[in-house]
Subunit: 614 residues, 2 copies
Amino acid sequence: MRYEELTELARQLRVDSVRAADAAGSGHPTSSMSAADLTAVLLAHHLRYDFSDPGNPANDRLVFSKGHASPLLYSLYKAAGAIDDEELLTFRKRDSRLEGHPTPLLPWVDVATGSLGQGLPVGVGMALAGRYLDRVPYRIWVLSGDSEMAEGSVWEAVEHAAFEQLGNLKLIIDVNRLGQRGPTRHQHDLGAYARRLRAFGWHTVEVDGHDVEAVDKALGEAVRVEGRPTAVIAATRKGRGVAAVEDREGRHGKPLPDAEAAIEELGGPRFVRVEVEAPPAARVRRVRDLAPLALPRFEPGTREATRTAYGHALAALGSARGDVVALDAEVGDSTRTEYFKEEHPDRYLEFYIAEQQLVAAAVGLQARGWVPYASTFAAFLTRAHDFIRMAAVSRADINLVGSHAGVAIGEDGPSQMGLEDLAMLRSVHGSTVLYPCDANQTARLVAAMAELDGVRYLRTSRGETPVVYGPDEDFPVGGSKVLRGGDGDRAAIVAAGVTVHEALRAADALAADGIPVRVVDLYSVKPVDVETLDDAARETGCILTVEDHRPEGGIGDAVAEAFSDGRPAPRLARLAVGGMPASATPDEQLHAAGIDAESIAAAVKLLVGRGVAP
Amino acid sequence: MRYEELTELARQLRVDSVRAADAAGSGHPTSSMSAADLTAVLLAHHLRYDFSDPGNPANDRLVFSKGHASPLLYSLYKAAGAIDDEELLTFRKRDSRLEGHPTPLLPWVDVATGSLGQGLPVGVGMALAGRYLDRVPYRIWVLSGDSEMAEGSVWEAVEHAAFEQLGNLKLIIDVNRLGQRGPTRHQHDLGAYARRLRAFGWHTVEVDGHDVEAVDKALGEAVRVEGRPTAVIAATRKGRGVAAVEDREGRHGKPLPDAEAAIEELGGPRFVRVEVEAPPAARVRRVRDLAPLALPRFEPGTREATRTAYGHALAALGSARGDVVALDAEVGDSTRTEYFKEEHPDRYLEFYIAEQQLVAAAVGLQARGWVPYASTFAAFLTRAHDFIRMAAVSRADINLVGSHAGVAIGEDGPSQMGLEDLAMLRSVHGSTVLYPCDANQTARLVAAMAELDGVRYLRTSRGETPVVYGPDEDFPVGGSKVLRGGDGDRAAIVAAGVTVHEALRAADALAADGIPVRVVDLYSVKPVDVETLDDAARETGCILTVEDHRPEGGIGDAVAEAFSDGRPAPRLARLAVGGMPASATPDEQLHAAGIDAESIAAAVKLLVGRGVAP
């Protein structure tokens, strides 16, 4: 396109952004208007994308990190012929796929945005896929706002992109000077951004973001740079083109005061249609099925840590499936992903101590068709909570594995203990939460995870636990195992992970005292096995949950929820980590927290004797 | 001290670190040994601290961000005469206050560390207190590892410290080249760190971290620099001084293989005692009581958003108490902290879009005696989950306020909706979780929060809700309000926030249909009002919870937990946001999620009619 046409296109994008927000009665037209020239040039001259085939593996990717500029994104889709004007005006209305912030309900949106500072780290994941896994020369274009450069997650990504020499990653920063409530820290000081990015090893280009010729050259330069990521840092004006709002405070996140006048001022509606360049043909080299799955097998009666079983199982899964990728945050010797690395170094990605980037990369990788397993300490997955939450909005299929669960880690103390992870992961929409107690169970669940939808979480333990299951036992997701029990059980102990073994010891002691109890291994915390819990409730009358986790949000809540559908509930009691642990041995920790065999037996006695739990 | 003595002191610190870890059988001696020279010089020549009076407001602060180097910290305490050798050797043992990672069980530890990348952001909070609030020239010394520079939270802090010209903040980076599982990204490239920090506006000094004379000069330079933060970037060797471990991989986080030989190699035990310089006398200017509290009063029957009531109440609290500080992450116009800013600009701190730094600063401020209220969207508090978790380990007293709760925000869509926040905050040890439904209730709870211990959370709503309480009503934490009810109630609806109003409408409709129901406003989600719930259970036989939150971890779980102590439970059912919302109006959202009056009434009818919930 000639530069005059690009300017026309940009004006159309502004007009359509104003119209969409006006029709919706809400939205962010001013944040759209600042980036209209940038994205007009990108769409018309630099993006290689087949809108009729969004799954084309050679397509560039466009991540709108400033997701609130959704009117602009949808106006771009309209200009590309992907949606029509009628649909554009459904923006933010019920049942429209044009949501307030973009989600993959639209086939051209790979990941949801709207929580700022996520687009670049997710883009890093996609770029890693392109450079190291797919080995296809697609480019990842990320449009970022200037405000969101304050998010630490952005700098995790900046560091990692340079370290990994992601020349296929192109960041466009729309420096429109104004955040939500006022000026940003650096306002129009483009150099402030450029200096920082260059110090991390990026190539930078500073440009007037409203000069389409200059923007075209800047994006062209970005395309040509190889071997390192490039940022095009563009000075723009929020609300550009409409004097009543341009570069003014107090105009964030609302329709223009007089849309009709604004459209007039912008020169009225236009009907520019862009032919977006299709990508050159390319194929990803990925082979899904490599070999039959040969999971590790552990001898019942021996002892092994579930984290160790995880590492071996993941390595085995990687040998069977060519699409499995392991990610870690500099603790692969602890999480045991190092076993995967040894066997499949080409599909192992190290993120150093940057958990947000770790999870964001998993989201980016799955958007390119890979099956990521991202691991770190369960406690430190809390760093990535917002990314996990947004992964669900992205309808992302990712596997997360948190090791060092609970007080059972021992001496390291509470900073290292995953004690809130079940609560966090249970609350994620569509998630699966698994918590194995032995090595064979772990191995089977690691393989099962790969087949599920959504965010799947596996919780592993640091210390060795007895192998109680045979290697051929099935562990359906949503199931549980009754490890002790029969007619006449006076209570059911529901446990998972390390507390299963404490429950078994308690059950044996109680049986010796003439109190038969049932032990349920609730390895699937979400979804939960309602049927088995129902049986236990009906047949024993009371259920005691025991967990190495805070009392809130974990197994106790999961079991209570199973009885929260209006049926008569059994008597319920729970043992969990109520206090703040300090340093002690694992056994001392379990005892101090009141979740060891002795505490369980005492609680059951209270429960069956007097109907009052401790 | 002469340099020879400093070297002796550093050797003593190494020996004691080795001894402590050896006695414990675990711990991180090699990570301690790398920083021994740095901290020896700091303690003997630059730190101004009265160990006999850790509460002295003029004391410098030392934040051991690399908390796993706790053997070194405790060895420093011993060298300063704060603990004796006998206590040093209790390291990591049950009932010892020398935990695996430092916590404020020790009077000289202000904040817990051990989750890497938190020390600097917390230090920024302390430095902000020193520069802008206390106006006392204490210095904040942060000892950081090199691995943790990968955490985005560090760069949020780097940016903010420079922007706020925190000349009182002195960062020492122990660049020992090795992370947990191997080399860091930049290994011994000090310039990589220096370039980045300088680009953000820091003063940097590069130094050989084992040359005590050079270190002394570097720290002296750091002391003299004003107007901007300084980083002393020190090249060190992990395990320094013991050939078997020095600069070797695979030696992280474990005692030395032969402690006796190592101590011998280090020259054997020493008995250097350091007289730490006391700070110059200073007083903080803080006045706690300024005026009687005059909370805003809202007229019953009018409508107001609870977020708006929060803003006015916080401003009023700030007028009454001089120790209250408001913090926000660039959304003060949405959270309504802007009302506080208008009245108390000197106690308002803007963190831009950096939620980890926001919460970390709150932790730092409370460590200096301030009462922080940190606000952002509830959804975005998930960014700071790890900081909130660690705040509990720090025994920090902080107020967090999350606005824009639930689907009730309407068109913006799921990325902006706080739907997991109750689960996150309930699971935090010792937390309080409050969720008001009207403006007067909000105002009272805002004031009540300030008096509580631990992490306190207030959840506010975007849209206006009817004022249903008078301005003089009391709302004790741990209480609830029965808004409808009497003899013959056939069910109890337990709600909070926006769903209270839906429940009231449902109750009126049900009453008209001849089905009297109770409505409980559960404004205190944690602790929960067990007595009122018990009454409701006993008198109605079934309880329906309704919440604008995910089904997991919120009000439904809180109510179920109230009946999880072995007592016979009532029939329970819950309505919550089970699906993934898109864009729609607030009313449409509540209806689509099945938590509006109509859905509630239908659920109650099923519950009382056939005993089966939807």
